[in-house]
């Protein structure tokens, strides 16, 4: 698998279909690797412990200046690529994906090809069962118990914003937490500021999250961020049929509407 990935990456550079390849390095932690010479493709690596979502680099100016770019992309990263295209953040024809799934190399795809692959072979990607069970368990608790659970979890947050940096969906040039006139979210790494930050981070991904898990993997404090992401993903699917990352021309869930949306909770 690794051999096929390396050969294909080298070929893309040789044929000038890509000027830059972003992949994973073999050394501990599997950091991102930026390659522009075909001979360096031997250093590319992939296995399931590569948790970063490399689509997050596409919005960085240093990367977009070196297009066309090809990224090593897991299925979730492929979905991110499609979401970014739908949100006009990735120019079609400027980004290629070297698609990988667990221990298989699936080939090189442009965005339309990636969407086609996902629709035909992986039509119901969603949260893992264990994650949904965690959401279910939490939902069964009383509101007071839920508040206590999150009070304990959010108290660990140091507001390093590693979750934001790791997320392909967090590409705003100026994030709400950096706006200070007025100060919407307290910057102190304490109770209410941590609550606001974590809630807004999750909410801004609602209907867009591809459940890649990069935020949770990046969190140095081990916050269960995927519990929030998974709950919102299921909610957006149930309420609005949202399947982010399958249609490069799809409309975002928040930002579009239908007169038929449910409002049984409205008085």
């Amino acid at each position: 698998m690794m051999k096929a990935l390396r050969q294909e990456a080298a070929k893309l550079l040789q044929e000038k279909r890509a000027a830059l390849i972003i992949g994973f390095a073999e050394r501990e932690g599997h950091p991102a690797l930026f390659i522009s010479k075909p001979e360096d493709c031997e250093r590319l690596f992939y296995d399931v412990s590569c948790r970063q979502n490399l689509a997050a680099y596409l919005s960085k100016p240093e990367v977009s200046a070196r297009r066309p770019v090809a990224i090593v992309a897991s299925l979730a990263a492929l979905r991110s690529l499609v979401v970014l295209t739908a949100e006009s953040q990735a120019a079609p024809g400027q980004v290629l994906a070297l698609a990988v799934d667990k221990d298989a190399f699936l080939g090189t795809f442009d965005v339309a090809g990636a969407a086609e692959l996902l629709r035909s072979k992986y039509p119901d990607l969603g949260p893992e069962k264990a994650l949904l069970e965690r959401v279910g368990e939490l939902s069964k608790k009383s509101v007071v118990e839920r508040a206590a659970f999150w009070a304990e979890e959010f108290a660990k947050c140091t507001r390093c914003y590693a979750c934001r940096a790791a997320c392909p969906g967090c590409y705003c040039a100026r994030c709400i937490v950096e706006k200070n006139a007025p100060q919407w979210v307290s910057t102190a790494a304490l109770g209410h500021g941590n609550y606001s930050w974590n809630i807004m981070r999750a909410f801004h991904q609602s209907g867009r999250c591809t459940l890649c898990g990069a935020c949770e993997a990046a969190c140095p404090q081990g916050l269960p961020l995927m519990v929030l992401n998974a709950a919102l993903d299921r909610e957006a699917l149930e309420e609005f049929g949202a399947r982010p990352g399958y249609d490069p021309e799809g409309k975002p869930v928040i930002g579009s509407w239908s007169a038929e949306d449910d409002h049984s909770y409205m008085r």
Partner: protein, 151 residues
């Protein structure tokens, strides 16, 4: 002037503080109608008027809870009646997901209320406020231990 002692809340009775975010065109006008019609309703509501429900950022709700609200009410134009055509439809999608997120993190539907009140529904507004106030009074003060509360 004679004051009725029974109406003055003693420190031991809990009086909920409810923040209401309402739109300029429907619910605020509805509240105005309730006032000009001399309808009496619970005085626990603090109304904040915005141009449209579509303008209500979910952060406003978090801010209200942060700063001492026991409950939040969001109210705007009925579907199809939005002054800006679709602001309330956009808002509705947002709230559908946001209320679930808050419920999962410890702010349940006894704290967060949504409604449509038109400019002609002064009576509905008064009834709504009374009903919401009664519910929050029953639910008690918003838990001081909630992570979203300012210490």
């Amino acid at each position: 002037m004679k004051t009725e002692k029974a109406d003055v809340p003693t420190p031991t009775t809990f009086e909920p503080r409810i923040t209401a975010f309402v739109c300029n065109w429907c619910t605020y006008a509805g509240a105005d109608l309730a006032g000009t019609s001399r309808l009496q309703y619970a005085p626990n509501l603090r109304i904040i008027k915005l141009p449209c429900t579509g303008r209500i950022d979910p952060l406003f709700v978090l801010k209200a809870f942060e700063n001492g609200a026991d409950a939040v009410l969001v109210s705007g134009c009925h579907p199809g009646d939005c002054h800006y055509t679709s602001g309330n439809y956009h808002a509705r999608r947002r709230w559908t997901l946001f209320r679930k997120l808050l419920a999962l993190t410890g702010i349940g539907d006894d704290r967060l209320f949504f409604s449509w009140v038109s400019a002609a529904e002064g009576q509905k507004f008064a009834d709504l406020v009374n009903d919401v106030t009664a519910k929050v009074r029953k639910a008690g003060p918003f838990q001081a231990a909630h992570p979203g509360r300012k210490a």
